[in-house]
């Protein structure tokens, strides 16, 4: 039976009727809410391109059903910047050339958000470990690690 989903996404209220129970959260965000910054890369929870913050936790939205989002608070890549002020992680990816094609970047940034919550002062090995669930095919990860370390510095001094 189709259900109604009411959720807060990026601080805004959304109300969607007729949500199929089998609809994945990632398709709900993309196709129903128009938040296309969250990407699909593997369909099997390996690549992390679809990572969003779901009730304060980084989750892969391709393995969550949209109906689970009823009453949830979700942040997607579109909600990471404070209006026009980029989050230090967004700045870091830009500053350190932490992206090439950009497809994995939103998911990578969402995972890194959680990483920095858990480890405000991470070393390189920790960053690599924590980002193991996000695949990037362009960068070889080197500049992604740099970007996260740069953001950690910036957040500490803020």
């Amino acid at each position: 039976m189709p259900r109604t989903v009411q959720a807060t996404v990026n601080g805004r209220k959304y109300y969607e009727e007729n949500v199929e129970p089998r609809l994945l959260l990632v398709h709900f965000l993309r196709d129903r809410l128009g938040l296309t910054g969250t990407h699909v890369g593997c369909d099997s929870t390996n690549c992390g391109a679809c990572t969003v913050m779901f009730n304060g936790k980084a989750v892969k939205s391709c393995t969550l059903l949209a109906v689970r989002a009823d009453g949830a608070e979700i942040t997607t890549i579109e909600g990471v910047a404070d209006e026009d002020r980029l989050h230090p992680l967004q700045e870091g990816f830009w500053e350190k050339h932490g992206l090439q094609c950009g497809y994995c970047t939103p998911g990578m940034i969402m995972s890194a958000l959680q990483l920095l919550e858990r480890h405000p002062d991470p070393d390189e090995a920790t960053v690599r470990q924590e980002l193991e669930g996000n695949l990037c095919r362009c960068t070889g990860y080197q500049n992604i690690v740099e970007a996260v370390l740069w953001a950690a510095e910036r957040l500490k001094s803020a």
């Binding site: 910054g37 579109e78 090439q100 095919r137």
Partner: protein
């Protein structure tokens, strides 16, 4: 300050870090349908019937296209012929199978439905009857005289044969003290961009235009091919490549699926979107790399490598992809490496089997050529009791330009200096001591050295030569258009797929025009607004496209100066553009903002003399100055240091040093990103990734759970040293570099692992070096040595 040479931040990044990029699946058109393919579950079968009636009874099932229906509507998929190909036969490769299926995942029918999920439901209702046939998975089997033919119109199962030779191979054999022989094998794997394939086709019944949004590296070439395949006027086709989430050569493909989606759009008169799943992508997007080389290398006792001869077998899969000859030839042409050999010969057979078709992937075969020669140099060194670096130093080309036996002229660079630099970075003598010390402790550290010269920019495909080989030169055409407020759009016919074009082209355009970079923007990917171009391929952007940007920029500048000279009452030759001002050279007092000049050129035309044309726009072409196969010759030396855990078979990187020379660097940050990224991709290819089929032709690796692309913890920190020897024949001195790391890394990593476990009696001549494969090699060696490893 010149912009060329500056590591400025990328101009495309803001949209990506805020989630505002637009990839093809982010586009929704009014009335859009979703498509799903019905694919063959058999590796080889006769197609007895396809029944779509149940599918169309589904309330959301809008329409279906079968192979039988498509056959008269869409011609064969293209195959390029090289002049070098002594025989090229073309299997009848159609967008949907119509008589036989030849690999698991081959599209058989296409359905369109009202939404994404319904499309899958509807596809499941299509009933297909097959008569399974014996599959051929191994080229050796396909080549047997009594093997069944996979294509009736071919004489046998050889889809493509190329024979190449150069220099004097007979003399090489004559002078040799011994002939080194080995069989090398590289396994099947591929690029797997994180964004899979996808497109939206739309047919306008009023204008008779077909518009295709497609994740592709070749919008213009794709348009030309679609016109031929669909017998549709080319000027009525518009291809738009939006943001592309990685291409790596795979997206040079002319996808059969895209042809079928176009048919569906024409049939339904509605926009049709198709987005490939990862499972489909692993089964039916291009595969790559799988090759075998039977090699002979005549050698003198003093270590002189005299020549190289190989019989190369490519597992081409069920059909020939358009670019099959590229990676086949790419491997063959790179066999002599950066060494002074007398002779060379390669006989290439691309053999039909029941695997997914084989095509382009970053490096285009050259990594296999490099692996063969670099592995051989190490093994010959071992046989002669020499240090592998020492043997390289003896044989490497000492001076450039150098005419290689392949016919290529390596244009510039100092390979010995590059090698020395790389050795210095890792402190090679100290590493060898460390290795000896660790071995005494029972630890297995290995040092891999690989060097190669790489052809960047290929003089091919400039015309979409589907039918005949046409000798041609690569070229690029670029338009620069200044608007009425003095800002400039640079229109380029290729497309960025992580390749930073919006930044580097703007840097070159800024220097060519004298305009501030903030006033310049790059537009790519839309065939309706950009000049014809052969696409983002073969690392040609910096070697061919950017010189065209510079030419076009200089032409635009001249036009701005001409109008400026009239307004400032000076002579055109005395004008310059400095920081957005047109001024009399050296006299800033006599100047005008470019915006004022633009206003006059567009809006106050009556004030200009008749001979000055209205508007400010320039289009210029740059033709490759070199007529051989490749245009520029970057080179690189890779030295990875690894430790192999002989209990688990795991390979750990201790260091990874890279010296590379791609000529003058426009943006060193971008260059380093490409070098590191390409190398990382090859590390995955050498150690982890493999597309595995069982003997029935079923693909066993159909998700990223089985097909392991490297994660952040698999990767070392790469140390990169940039040399910059200007390309002598390219204005600006740029060489191509995007394939870069992916050419050298296989040879380097395999040599490192081999060096680590060589004391245990292991000889490595094949990839991948996954932990299980390494343990298997160790077990085999132990068996050979009677248990005394």
């Amino acid at each position: 300050m010149p912009m060329i040479g500056q590591s400025i931040k990328r101009r495309e990044d803001l949209k990506y870090v805020t989630g505002s990029g637009t990839y093809v699946d982010d586009i929704t058109l009014p009335g859009m349908l979703y498509a799903a393919f019905v694919r063959s579950p058999h590796a080889h079968a006769r197609l007895l019937g396809v029944d779509t009636s149940k599918a169309l009874e589904h309330p959301k099932g809008i329409d279906a296209v079968t192979g039988a229906e498509a056959y008269p509507l869409a011609g064969p998929m293209p195959v390029y012929s090289y002049r070098q190909a002594t025989a090229i036969k073309k299997p009848d490769y159609r967008c949907l199978a119509h008589d036989r299926v030849r690999f698991v995942g081959e599209p058989v029918a296409l359905v369109a439905a009202a939404d994404r999920y319904a499309a899958d439901d509807v596809a499941e209702l299509v009933e297909v009857r097959y008569e399974p046939l014996e599959p051929l998975m191994d080229p050796d089997e396909s080549l047997k005289p009594d093997a069944p033919k996979l294509h009736d119109n071919l004489d046998n199962n050889v889809g493509l044969r190329i024979e190449r030779q150069g220099g004097d191979m007979e003399a090489a054999y004559r002078e040799a003290d011994f002939v080194f022989k080995r069989r090398y094998r590289m396994h099947r794997h591929t690029g797997t961009p994180i964004e899979t394939r996808g497109c939206i086709a739309q047919y306008n019944t009023g204008t008779k235009e077909l518009t295709l949004h497609c994740s592709t590296q070749i919008p213009h070439i794709l348009k030309t091919h679609l016109s031929e395949i669909l017998d549709f006027p080319e000027f009525k086709i518009r291809v738009i490549a939006p943001d592309v989430g990685g291409g790596f050569g795979n997206k040079l493909q002319v996808p059969p699926e895209v042809v079928a989606v176009c048919l569906m759009a024409i049939k339904t008169r509605r926009p049709v979107k198709w987005i490939e799943t990862r499972r489909e992508s692993l089964m039916a997007f291009l595969h790559a790399r799988e090759q075998t080389h039977d090699v002979e290398i005549p050698v003198k006792r003093d270590g002189t490598i005299l020549g190289i001869k190989s019989h190369e077998i490519v597992n081409a899969g069920g059909y020939l992809d358009a670019r099959i000859s590229g990676p086949s030839l790419g491997a063959g042409m790179w066999l002599p490496g950066p060494y002074m050999v007398k002779g060379y010969q390669v006989d290439i057979d691309a053999v039909m089997t029941n695997k997914c078709p084989y095509g382009a992937y970053r490096g285009f075969g050259s990594q296999m050529g490099a692996l063969v020669i670099e592995r051989s140099v190490d093994l010959i060194a071992r046989q002669l009791g020499r240090d592998p670096v020492d043997l390289r130093r003896q044989n490497v080309i000492k001076e450039t330009p150098y005419k290689c036996v392949t016919g290529h002229e390596f244009d510039s660079g100092d390979y010995v200096a590059g090698l020395d630099k790389a050795l210095e970075m890792v402190d090679y003598p100290a590493l060898r001591e460390e290795q000896a010390r660790l071995r005494r402790e029972g630890r297995y550290m290995g040092i891999g050295v690989a060097m190669a010269v790489e052809g960047a920019g290929w003089n091919t495909y400039t015309a979409a030569m589907a039918q005949h080989y046409v000798p041609t030169l690569d070229y690029a055409t670029v338009t620069m258009r200044m608007d009425t407020s003095g800002n400039v759009k640079v229109l380029i016919g290729d497309v960025a797929c992580g390749t930073s074009h919006a930044t580097t082209a703007a840097q070159v355009a800024a220097d060519a025009t004298g305009l501030p970079i903030e006033t310049i923007e790059v537009v790519e990917g839309d065939t309706a607004v950009t000049p014809y171009d052969s696409g983002t391929r073969a690392a040609r952007f910096s070697a061919v496209v950017l010189p065209a940007v510079a030419e076009s920029g200089m032409a635009l500048k001249k036009k701005v100066c001409r109008v400026g000279a009239h307004l400032l009452e000076g002579s055109e030759e005395d004008m310059e553009i400095v920081e957005g001002q047109v001024q009399v050279r050296g006299v800033p007092d006599r100047s005008l903002p470019v915006s004022r000049v633009a206003r006059v050129a567009y809006s106050e035309v009556a004030t200009l003399p008749r001979e000055i044309p209205a508007g400010l726009e320039a289009t210029e072409s740059f033709k490759a100055p070199v007529s051989g196969l490749c245009i520029t010759w970057p080179y690189s030396i890779h030295i990875p240091v690894v430790e192999v855990d002989i209990e688990t078979g795991a390979v750990k990187f201790l260091r990874y040093a890279i010296v590379h020379d791609c000529g003058v660097e426009i943006n060193p940050m971008v260059v380093e990103g490409q070098v590191v990224g390409g190398t990382a991709q090859g590390v995955g290819g050498a150690l982890l990734e493999e597309l595995v089929y069982d003997e029935d032709g079923q693909l066993l690796t159909t998700s990223f759970m089985d097909y392991l692309i490297p994660t952040a913890t698999d990767m070392p920190s790469f140390e990169v040293c940039h040399l910059q020897t200007a390309a002598p024949q390219i204005p600006g001195g740029y060489k191509g570099m995007g394939e870069g790391g992916c050419v050298y890394v296989y040879a380097a990593v395999v040599n490192a692992v081999a060096d680590a476990i060589e004391p245990l009696g292991v000889e490595i001549t094949s990839t991948p070096l996954s932990p299980s494969r390494i343990l298997e090699l160790l077990r085999e060696a132990k068996g050979r040595n009677g248990g005394n490893a």
